[in-house]
């Protein structure tokens, strides 16, 4: 297919990475530098100052000699520059050099830390080390990337994945970052599950903790209380099913009905996703709590005593379904839109009525979307922490138990880790069930062939109940958000209802001082940090997510199952655990990034990447492989195919990933609360502080402002990404 490239003896990609490796080793500071991008280090003693020195200079000065062996791995690839890719030596040298360099770099990073050797057995073997090293910096990072991609090029040259340099590089890159930022911290955290009170590790001590009655008790069947595991499981299943069905209802109304106000409905359905934590919970208490508007009214009308019915399962369920329906909707809309109308039209031509068409054609084709939506609703519910905290009552769930095992009066990290294992087991179980249900069937409907059909309208028997449900839900959403907007402009929510703008003024005051504008409102600092982090994290999340999805749906390689598992793992673990594990893993060398903005960005990218992956996979499983093949046949390589063919068809998935990660960065709380620092405080942790302090007005005012910022951002993203133009007739009078 690509005999031309096989005959080449210049390899631009190879040359690029060889140069990168040398630059990282000989020019950039090897260890971490505070405020790298101010470039003050350039004039502050570089390259001889040992804090800023590159590895090569350090070695020349006789320091950190353990960095020297990497020189071999950097030099070796130079020997094969003139050779052809088909030459077995070419592949062999690259693989050996890359693997050796990379593993040596990792091994010295883990082995030698702040206090010399990091492990006792190294010290017994080599004697105590007088030297020490700090966290790695850009030099080390670029050199490591160079080794990694030299290795993958070697693998490609040997013929893996059809010798595709882009695909092998992407696989290697994703594996490396997922290992470093997902597996490694989780592993560190999991070690704590086996920790004993005395500071040692015990395998036997793990089981009594795992089978604790507080986790597994089935008391609620006989009138008592159930364990947290059952509570969480039950809640997550109910929330997953309800949010998927509601999301589907919204998607059907938008794509398969003649409904007029689609834009308004679409905006409304997305509103809950952009709401900061606690706010929905507070609004629900004001509506349905003991002194809530609805509860007291109903109690008066019916003449019964008002109760605290909302605290516990009902409250959490309402809040979570409200919050997660939009995510399910975003996953489903892409799938429902993508189903080829030709198939539906074919069914109708064969004299199926609308109901038969829906049941036998549309519904089965929606299965990947439904399964993915349920999975996301299920996992989100399992990991949600804000709503159970506010509305939980005495209904304990795993996520809050984990949080309070770590930060509460127990300080029991090992119990937290055990609970996290249970939680992980549930989410992974759901993940495998989903795969089982989807089976090996094909769901491809978007092919390269012309397809200009029109989506069939829903059968009447289906559309009436769906319109009722969507209508009721929309009214409910409007009421909840009305409450929120109202809450931000009253003196004291629920007590003193005089209108005031003081909360907005406290938060967002701007003064005109001598030196220009002064952002003197108390919320500005966290606001700008949040915007910055969200803006950086969103495109990265989408990129990593979609590349991963592409690899999973389009490429076959050894260990694909494990690869998929790894990329989904971070989503299945609650944010609290991620937060603590990140602190444990990244506060010490080799990677020392706590207290920086970078750790926030990274935690967002890897926590939200799975949504990008799921959305991308759901959409890509509908795209026929013949599209790729024709592109490849016409001489494009796999990167060009990905960019010019797949990517434009993935716009709904890209949008979902971008929106989700941007919004998550502005609304997620559980991991963030551990990772914020004085210089990088996030809006959610600020809001939680206000709520803790009874300052509901300010918290809600800030949240309302954030909602508008996110609305604007979502609109902007939609504009930037654009809509997928699949060649179809305009449907149902919707204007274009």
């Amino acid at each position: 297919m690509r005999t031309v490239s096989l005959e080449q003896t210049t390899h631009p990609v190879l040359i690029f990475w060889i140069i990168a490796g040398w630059v990282g080793y000989c020019i950039l500071p090897w260890y971490g530098v505070d405020k790298f991008w101010s470039f003050e280090w350039l004039v502050d003693g570089w390259p001889l100052d040992k804090d800023y020195a590159p590895a090569a200079v350090l070695i020349a000065m006789g320091q950190k000699l353990w960095l020297a062996p990497m020189l071999l791995a950097l030099a070796a690839p130079l020997l094969v520059l003139g050779r052809r890719k088909t030459d077995p030596l070419y592949a062999k040298v690259l693989i050996l050099a890359g693997a050796f360099g990379f593993s040596w770099l990792v091994a010295q990073g883990l082995g030698i830390g702040l206090r010399g050797f990091a492990f006792g057995w190294l010290e017994t073997l080599f004697g105590p080390l007088e030297d020490r090293q700090f966290g790695m910096g850009y030099g080390a990072m670029i050199t490591a990337s160079a080794f990694l991609f030299l290795f993958t090029q070697g693998i490609a040259a040997r013929g893996a994945v059809n010798g595709d340099v882009f695909v092998t590089g992407a696989i290697g890159g994703v594996i490396a970052v997922v290992t470093v930022f997902v597996f490694y911290p989780i592993l560190i955290m999991m070690l704590a599950a086996f920790a004993t009170d005395e500071g040692g590790y015990s395998f036997l001590g793990f089981f009594p903790k795992l089978f604790d009655y507080r986790i597994w008790s089935l008391g609620c069947l006989t009138g008592g209380r159930c364990g947290v595991a059952w509570n969480s499981l039950f809640l997550a299943v109910v929330v997953g099913v309800l949010s998927t069905l509601l999301g589907l209802a919204f998607a059907l109304v938008l794509t398969r009905s003649g409904f007029r106000y689609k834009r308004a409905l679409r905006a409304l359905s997305v509103l809950p996703i952009i709401t900061p934590p606690f706010v929905i919970g507070l609004a629900i208490i004001l509506l349905f709590g003991l002194s809530g508007t609805v509860t007291t009214t109903v109690a008066e009308v019916l003449g019964v005593e008002a109760t605290r019915w909302v605290y516990g399962l009902p409250g959490i369920m309402i809040a979570q379904v409200l919050a997660f329906t939009p995510v399910c909707f975003l996953v489903l809309i892409g799938v429902v839109e993508g189903i080829s109308p030709s198939m539906e039209e074919a069914a109708q031509t064969l004299r199926a009525n609308r109901w038969q068409t829906f049941r036998t054609v549309s519904w089965p084709l929606m299965r990947p979307g439904l399964a993915n939506a349920f999975l996301i609703g299920f996992i989100e519910s399992m990991a949600d922490f804000g709503n159970p905290l506010v509305l939980g009552g005495n209904f304990d769930v795993l996520s809050t138990e984990i949080f309070f095992a770590i930060v509460g009066a127990q300080y029991d990290q090992s119990r937290a880790a055990v609970l996290a294992v249970v939680l992980l087991a549930f989410t992974l179980g759901a993940f495998y069930l989903q795969r089982f249900w989807l089976g090996r069937r094909r769901y491809t409907t978007v092919t390269g062939k012309g397809d200009s059909g029109m989506h069939a309208i829903m059968p009447r028997g289906l559309s009436i109940p769906i319109f009722i449900v969507v209508g009721l839900w929309s009214v409910f959403t409007v009421v909840v958000y009305g409450m929120i907007a109202y809450g931000s402009v009253v003196q004291l929510w629920g007590v003193d209802n005089t209108l005031t703008f003081k909360h907005y003024i406290t938060a967002f005051r701007v003064e005109l001082g001598e030196s220009g504008l002064r952002w003197s409102g108390s919320a500005w600092a966290s606001f700008w940090t949040t915007i910055m982090i969200a803006t950086i994290a969103a495109p990265l999340t989408a990129a990593v997510g979609l590349i991963t999805a592409y690899l999973l749906t389009r490429q076959d390689f050894a260990g694909k199952q494990a690869f998929e598992f790894g990329t989904m793992l971070s989503f299945a673990i609650p944010g609290t655990v991620i937060g603590v594990s990140y602190i444990l893993a990244f506060n010490v060398p080799p990677i020392e990034i706590t207290g920086t903005g970078l750790i926030l960005v990274i935690s967002f990218v890897f926590r939200n990447m799975p949504v990008g992956v799921r959305a991308g996979m759901a959409s890509m499983s509908q795209l026929d492989k013949s599209l790729d093949e024709s592109s490849l046949t016409l001489g494009a390589n796999s990167w060009q195919t990905f960019r010019a063919v797949i990517l434009p068809l993935l716009r709904p998935a890209i949008l979902a990933a971008l929106v989700y990660s941007f919004v998550q960065a502005m609304t997620a709380i559980s991991a963030v609360i551990f990772l914020v620092s004085a210089r990088y405080d996030m809006s959610t942790s600020y809001i939680v502080g206000r709520v803790e302090n009874n300052d509901y007005g300010l918290a809600i005012a800030y949240s309302t402002a954030l909602i508008f910022v996110m609305l604007a951002a979502v609109g902007l993203l939609q504009l930037l990404v654009g809509r997928t133009q699949i060649g179809r007739r305009t449907s149902h009078g919707e204007g274009h």
Partner: protein, 340 residues
């Protein structure tokens, strides 16, 4: 790794826009409420010219963070939050012993706190345990106002009392330990069992019950009295009660983190935080605790510790990990499993 570099590049590119200040000279972990932390940060900067980077988290979260950062501390000084985690940090050798020249200006209870922990922590404020009720709801229901711990177990308050879960909240653990000290171990657990029958919810966070009382979601909340007073000052119809049997109390503390990178600045903050000027700031932010400096100003609204019947709270015993574990697991098995 490639993307890591990219993200860093973009990140740092945008940081320059937001004009970050020079590197902080003191990293302060603050576990009091937001305004109090901010005013402490700003006033210290004004008083000394030392730049402060402050992070506000609850005492439990801060303790977890200091534990995690033990091998490479990022914080210098930890100010505020209930005393138990400070004592525990001292026990685990995460904090640095320091004898401040300001000690002779302090109340004896503040010094006792320091001495019980080998000078690794010191008292900065104290607050007594009590409860608060929603006066509107009480009048509406036509119930008598509770005045004693014993009143809370009366059947007319069934389903109307809220307290935090001692497993998750330091406040509620102080309640449990106080009852054991007031009524004796058997009497204390008997009391907790009778109280259990009236509890509508064990909240996760310590001050949540009084917020629920303010919002009309429960009639009575068991909390620290200064939290109840703050709720009243915030405008909610809450009345604070000092229980007639006497009550336990907490000592909000301060510790220097072991291996602090800015040890001199940390000590400067420590000394300053014990001064009258620094402690007078509390009233500006509606913190109604009793401050540890003898000369510090007191508010009329604040509960006067001198007129309260305070028990002789044994911080060393009840703050230790073993006793805490024992009481909590006893509460778990004997009290929390009872039907309500």
């Amino acid at each position: 790794m490639k993307r890591h570099a990219l993200s860093a590049a973009i990140l740092c590119g945008t940081t320059s826009l937001s004009a970050t200040a020079a590197l902080a000279d003191l990293n302060l972990y603050c576990s009091a409420q937001e305004e109090w932390c901010q005013i402490m940060e700003k006033s210290f900067e004004e008083a000394t010219g030392i730049d402060v980077a402050m992070t506000r988290k609850s005492s439990g979260e801060t303790f977890a963070q200091i534990q995690a950062e033990a091998s490479n501390p990022k914080g210098d000084v930890w100010w505020g939050g209930t005393g138990d985690p400070h004592l525990q940090a001292a026990e685990e050798d995460l904090t640095e012993p320091y004898v401040s020249p300001m000690r002779d200006q302090l109340h004896p209870w503040a010094i006792a706190q320091a001495e019980s922990a080998g000078d690794k922590t010191i008292g900065i404020y104290s607050g007594a345990l009590g409860f608060g009720y929603n006066s509107d709801m009480l009048a509406k229901a036509g119930l008598p106002a509770p005045a004693c711990w014993e009143d809370l177990t009366k059947p007319e308050y069934k389903g109307m009392v809220q307290m935090a879960n001692p497993n998750s909240s330091g406040t509620a653990y102080t309640t449990l330990a106080s009852m054991v000290q007031i009524f004796g171990e058997d009497g204390g657990f008997d009391y907790m069992k009778r109280l259990h029958a009236n509890i509508n919810q064990y909240t996760k966070s310590g001050s949540a019950p009084i917020k629920a009382a303010g919002a009309g979601e429960t009639l009575i909340g068991i909390v620290f009295m200064h939290d109840a007073v703050a709720t009243t000052v915030a405008g909610f119809p809450v009345v604070t009660v000092a229980p007639c049997e006497g009550t336990g109390y907490e000592i909000g503390s301060m510790s220097i983190i072991k291996g602090a990178r800015n040890m001199d600045e940390a000590k400067a903050f420590y000394d300053w935080a014990l001064s009258k000027e620094a402690q007078d700031l509390a009233l500006q932010v509606n913190a109604f605790q009793v401050m540890s400096n003898v000369a510090a100003e007191k508010s009329e609204k604040a509960p006067d510790l001198a007129t309260l019947k305070l028990i002789d709270y044994d911080f060393k015993k009840y703050g230790s990990s073993d006793e805490r574990k024992r009481l909590l697991s006893k509460w778990d098995t004997e009290v929390s499993t009872l039907p309500q």
